[in-house]
């Protein structure tokens, strides 16, 4: 599997969370389909506006409803700075994807939540669904990655 280029901080494995976690442990990465060659591969760029410059932006790309928030296709993290962060994933097969990102402000390697599973650190999803009172479902966040690629914007800062 081709991994993404771009600046990649060493991703510390996140502690597995219970079902209420927005972003599951991105330890398992789904291998891309065999035979996906350059002619059918697209670049995915994600621009993330952090909420402040503390901690690390932890981003995961998911490729199916079944794997959403469970097993990422690819993941990446970058230190949060005052500028927007640019994540680049090269040579992904065109198709539907969803992105989840959180800002690990205290750098403890996980999305902190309260006792009912509400996140206490900034988070965001592709297509920035409104009115969330719980984790979104795949249909609310998925987008189509066309053969010539796409740029997705996610804003953590409110």
């Amino acid at each position: 599997m081709r991994t993404a280029a771009g600046s990649v901080a060493r991703t510390r494995p996140a502690t597995p969370r219970a079902a209420l976690a927005l972003i599951a442990a991105p330890l398992a990465v789904v291998p891309l389909a065999a035979g996906a060659g350059p002619a059918h591969a697209a670049d995915l760029i994600v621009e993330v506006v952090p909420a402040g410059s503390q901690g690390n932006l932890m981003l995961a790309v998911y490729g199916s409803a079944a794997d959403f928030r469970q097993r990422a296709v690819v993941q990446q993290s970058q230190a949060a700075t005052t500028a927007p962060a640019r994540f680049r994933f090269e040579q992904l097969p065109p198709g539907d994807y969803a992105i989840a990102v959180y800002q690990d402000v205290n750098s403890n390697g996980k999305l902190d939540t309260n006792m009912v599973g509400m996140p206490r650190e900034p988070f965001g999803f592709s297509r920035e669904p409104k009115g969330l009172m719980g984790p979104p479902n795949w249909d609310q966040v998925k987008f189509a990655l066309p053969p010539d690629g796409a740029t997705i914007d996610i804003r953590l800062e409110r």
């Binding site: 006792m115 009912v116 509400m118 996140p119 206490r120 409104k130 009115g131 969330l132 009172m133 409110r158």
Partner: protein, 519 residues
């Protein structure tokens, strides 16, 4: 935009033929429609005056909220007679106050952003201040110049992203004085900390990482040793959060229990043994997150209410008892009585009609379906799994207040806002306050004058006195003069009228709940 056009546009009055008669009144000029002239027969004048009085009454709420400033005072006014000996301190009140922002408007009383009022009673004077609670929602909407978030019952165009309940927090329902500080309470999210002297917003309250951002009720209950019990609901979750604070505002217990029909829970009661909840038979449509909160609820008359008794020592559900579906906002109190738990609450005849009435009032329309709330007592037998209900008094009753030293034990008196027979059905609200003696089933009542809407009557004990000895503090809004007055009553004789009162030089937005901090 001049004030007249502004008011007409926001009120939708532009097509109403009587709008011109109304607006000169708002500008302070005498309305020519009600003044006699040589050309106008007396009968016609009387009819016009009656019409004008009706219009004043049905537009009272709409006008009250039309142009609320961000701040009031400090304003010093004199009481007309000296305050009674022993009464000194500060009455704090909270209530929804901001309903218009740029091109966007809220249509339900409970939508508005919260504003804290402080009434400082000392000697012969009242000093009043009012300040908006500057929640995260408020600050974001200030920057945007419009409402970004739905209120309790009103959605907004192009809403901003909502990531957590606190994004919607308007901190607009009540206050909790604790440990020398003051909390502004919403019910769907965190309290906000308020400076008790300046009413400045200090920040969002959080007690622990585990409870950070969780909802905290507007109706916590304080025991004699200062322990505060509260809860929080999270619509669609099937869960209730439970909290115990000590008198120093430290969280000493927190738990989450599973329960059905806890998608909207405004108030509760405590006894020596239990936390007491009464659920309502609403069907909640969680997938309709494009709507405002209340719009997702449908009353289901086929389903029952449940009394939930939570054991205070384990914070687990001990008993669940069914009873016919009932609608409730407020509890007066509850207590353990041998094998029974007795629960006094204010039962609404019709939850939907009550909310429709509120929205009619906000639009300046007469109420189509008058509906009432009455004090009832449930007798719950946990072991037998039975509950019976009896009306305590037929009078309209809301905003109940009891002696704070009787919380969780048997009380006798309930103070409440009520309606006199003279109040037109078409007008929402209350025009009187009463003390209900629940032992004898009798009541003493004081009716404010015509054109006056009564607010929550708060009982304040005389230090060292027995139950019911002390005073009642009640604000009331005159919708003809557009002025709010604070009244002080002898709690044992509210029907004798106020001992003293102080009139503010402005009318305050009609508020919800308060608390008194003795000097």
């Amino acid at each position: 935009m001049d004030r007249r056009r502004y008011l007409m546009s926001i009120a939708g009055l532009a097509t109403m033929p009587w709008a011109d008669a109304l607006l000169p009144r708002l500008a302070g000029a005498a309305s020519p429609a009600c003044a006699g002239t040589d050309a106008t027969p007396a009968g016609a004048v009387a009819g016009q005056c009656a019409d004008r009085a009706d219009r004043l009454a049905s537009t009272a709420w709409q006008r009250n909220f039309a142009a609320v400033p961000d701040a009031y005072g400090p304003t010093r006014v004199a009481f007309d007679k000296p305050l009674p000996d022993g009464l000194a301190g500060v009455l704090y009140r909270n209530g929804p106050a901001r309903f218009h922002r740029g091109p966007t408007h809220y249509g339900h009383w409970f939508d508005g952003d919260g504003m804290i009022q402080s009434f400082s009673l000392a000697g012969r004077d009242l000093v009043h201040q009012g300040r908006m609670v500057r929640t995260a929602k408020f600050e974001r909407e200030e920057r945007a110049g419009r409402f970004l978030y739905p209120g309790f019952a009103t959605s907004v165009p192009s809403p901003a992203r909502i990531d957590a309940p606190d994004d919607l927090n308007s901190a607009n329902i009540s206050v909790l004085p604790i440990d020398g500080g003051l909390l502004a309470l919403w019910e769907g999210g965190s309290p906000y900390r308020i400076d008790p002297a300046s009413l400045a917003t200090l920040g969002r309250q959080t007690w622990s990482e585990e409870t950070d951002g969780m909802p905290f009720s507007a109706h916590p209950k304080r025991e004699l040793d200062g322990t505060v019990w509260s809860f929080g609901y999270m619509a669609g979750s099937g869960k209730l959060a439970l909290y115990r604070l000590d008198r120093h505002n430290r969280l000493t217990r927190a738990a989450v229990i599973e329960a059905r029909d806890v998608d909207m829970v405004h108030d509760f009661a405590i006894t020596r043994r239990y936390l007491v909840f009464v659920t309502m038979p609403f069907d909640y449509q969680r997938e309709r997150n494009d709507q405002a909160f209340y719009q997702r609820f449908r009353w289901n008359r086929e389903r029952a209410s449940q009394v939930l008794l939570v054991d205070k020592s384990t914070l687990t559900l001990a008993h669940r008892i069914e009873l016919p579906g009932l609608a409730v906002f407020h509890f007066a109190n509850a207590w353990d009585d041998g094998a029974q738990v007795r629960v006094q609450l204010m039962q609404l005849d019709d939850f939907g009609a009550a909310n429709d009435a509120i929205m009619s009032a906000m639009r300046g329309e007469p109420i189509a379906r008058p509906t009432h709330t009455r004090a009832v007592e449930l007798r719950v037998e946990p072991r037998g799994g039975r509950a019976t209900s009896a009306t305590l008094h037929p009078m309209a009753a809301e905003f109940p207040s009891i002696d704070p030293r009787r919380v969780g034990v048997a009380h006798r008196h309930v103070f409440a806002a009520t309606r006199s027979e003279g109040m037109p059905d078409a007008v929402f609200g209350f025009d009187a306050i009463a003390r209900l003696d629940t032992r004898r089933g009798t009541r003493e009542r004081y009716v404010f004058g015509a054109s006056i809407l009564a607010e929550e009557p708060l009982y304040v004990p005389r230090p060292g006195g027995t139950e019911g000895v002390g005073w009642v503090l009640a604000t009331a809004y005159d919708f003809a003069a557009e002025r709010t007055t604070l009244h002080v009553f002898d709690a044992q004789a509210v029907d004798a009228g106020p001992l003293c009162r102080a009139a503010l030089p402005y009318g305050l937005p009609l508020g919800l709940h308060g608390a008194f901090v003795p000097a």
